[in-house]
Amino acid sequence: MTYSRSKGIGMTVFILLLLTPIYWLLNMSFKTNQEILSGLTLWPQNFTLANYAVIFSDSSWYSGYINSMIYVSMNMTITLLVALPAAYAFSRYKFVGDKHLFFWLLSNRMAPPAVFLLPFFQLYSSVGLFDTHIAVALAHCLFNVPLAVWILEGFMSGVPREYDEMAYIDGYSFPRFFVKIFLPMIRSGIGVAAFFAFMFSWVELLLARTLTSVDAQPIGAIMTRTVGASGIDWGVLAAAGVLTIIPGVLVVWFVRNHIAKGFALGRV
């Protein structure tokens, strides 16, 4: 099966269609509001960075990005720390209730966040975690931990158990074997799990917005205030949108070689 020209053209068209809305956002972020509203231009006539300057010079704007980054990294760390041992247990051992537990974990991935909105709000308020980064990070564990366990279990099952036994015969203790030998062998799996934790925590807004008010407010919630008395500040809104896309593109670059397998959750 050789790669034909028509396939190449089809693929190019699809990618172009995919990128057009993003280009439009980028295009708009470099325009003044006056140009945006005065008529349609395919590229900025008066190229300006003023919209970005607004965001970078106002701490109430850029703190949104910092808040989002903080809870996303917290969530990634927690997710990986608890998911790694659990995935190892699921991939290597039979134990009482293992299958039920696995499916129960996965069922949490199916829970609509809207269902948990109110109880989360009350739970985190009552333990004094409301409006903190850790509250959002823990809330996002609801769907990220099951997914990470699932992905990592898939990757770990691909490593033959003989490695575990060999290390044991060579006199490795379990923690030393796990960190020194096992983790490096599934590092692409860890990368993919981290990537997914990043992705779903970064894009989620409903829970993040409900559990914060001022100190830990995510960028998505701050973006809504471009709607002012004089209408929407389209230029700044577009610039803020563009800035939320950049971290994702950077992260995907690092896992690009494993992304295809990763999207199949390590199960191909």
């Binding site: 995919l18 956002l25 041992p85 051992y93 809207a114 894009v203 994702g248």
Partner: protein, 288 residues
């Protein structure tokens, strides 16, 4: 892989168990608790049994939004799964082009959902958006904030734009796992392209397609942020999906008992549909 029976493995699972119990079990129990009570204020709640459930099941607003939700999820699956397979078949097999395609395809997946809404809000407008302006200048009446059909199509198109890459990436990884020998054998047998797809590629894609259909069903059934930003549920309530109805009820109107009963029914529907689909697929496997 043959696994060793060892109940001490529970110690390794314990952190996950505690964490998920804290972030899922306690809230879920709270919801169950609310759903059987009528709450007027702190310390002023009455046990009402299954009253809320009866009321919710007979609520026309909810039935409408449930129907809309099924229509939307059905349309999403009907478009995205075939399109995703098609895109995966068109992708280059290896090399720098393949990497580039993968990265570009992944971009929509990494955009925060409210920004996805914003992008299409701008893109679809008749005055400042390329898409809306383009349609209008072709002589088509298009206004997603005023017209029900346009609003629906825009939400659907936005979701296709947003999530088809996920299906494509899943299928792509499935296709990469097919050994080259299969294709060589097909060539010797002079199999047509359709036969190659039908008897080699499609069966091998089954496991990833199951994941794709499940993920797409679950996530489209929970959709909230994107249509909320794009249309706000309107015009009227034509694009108000289940999550938005629920959020309005719980946070906006603070109708806790009813919202809790509704939550549980909502969750059960997602679980039930996923379970039926999953069992059906694994059953088909066994029969072969």
């Amino acid at each position: 892989m043959n696994k060793v029976p060892n109940n001490r493995a529970w110690w390794l699972v314990l952190p996950v168990f505690i964490l998920v119990a804290f972030s899922a079990l306690i809230p879920l129990m709270t919801v169950v608790n609310y759903s059987v009570q009528d709450i007027f204020g702190p310390g002023n709640a009455y046990y009402v049994g299954t009253e809320w459930f009866k009321e919710v099941l007979n609520d026309e607003r909810l039935q409408d939004s449930l129907l809309r939700q099924f229509a939307f999820s059905g349309a999403v699956l009907a478009i995205q799964i075939p399109l995703g397979i098609g895109v995966a078949l068109m992708m280059p097999k290896s090399g720098i082009k393949a990497s580039l395609c993968l990265i570009l395809l992944a971009i929509p997946l990494l955009i925060p959902w409210n920004v996805v809404g914003t992008i299409w809000q701008i893109f679809g407008r008749g005055d400042i958006g390329l898409f809306g302006w383009g349609l209008n200048s072709l002589g088509l009446e298009y206004n997603y904030t005023g017209d029900t059909v346009d609003a629906w199509l825009t939400v659907l198109l936005m979701d296709v734009w947003h999530w088809t890459p996920l299906v494509a990436l899943l299928c792509y990884s499935g296709l990469r796992a097919i050994p080259e020998a299969f294709y060589q054998a097909a060539e010797i047998d002079r199999a047509s392209k359709w036969a190659v797809f039908r008897y080699i590629q499609l069966p091998r894609l089954k496991s990833v397609l199951v994941i794709a259909v499940l993920l797409r069903f679950m996530d489209s059934f929970m959709i909230y942020t994107e249509p909320f930003v794009l249309t706000g549920g309107g015009p009227g309530s034509s694009t108000t999906f289940l999550s938005q109805t629920l959020t309005t009820m719980a946070i906006g109107q603070f109708d806790i008992g009813r919202a809790a009963a509704f939550s549980l029914i909502y969750f059960l529907i997602v679980l039930l549909v996923s379970w039926v689909f999953f069992t059906a697929i694994t059953h088909l496997d066994k029969e072969k």
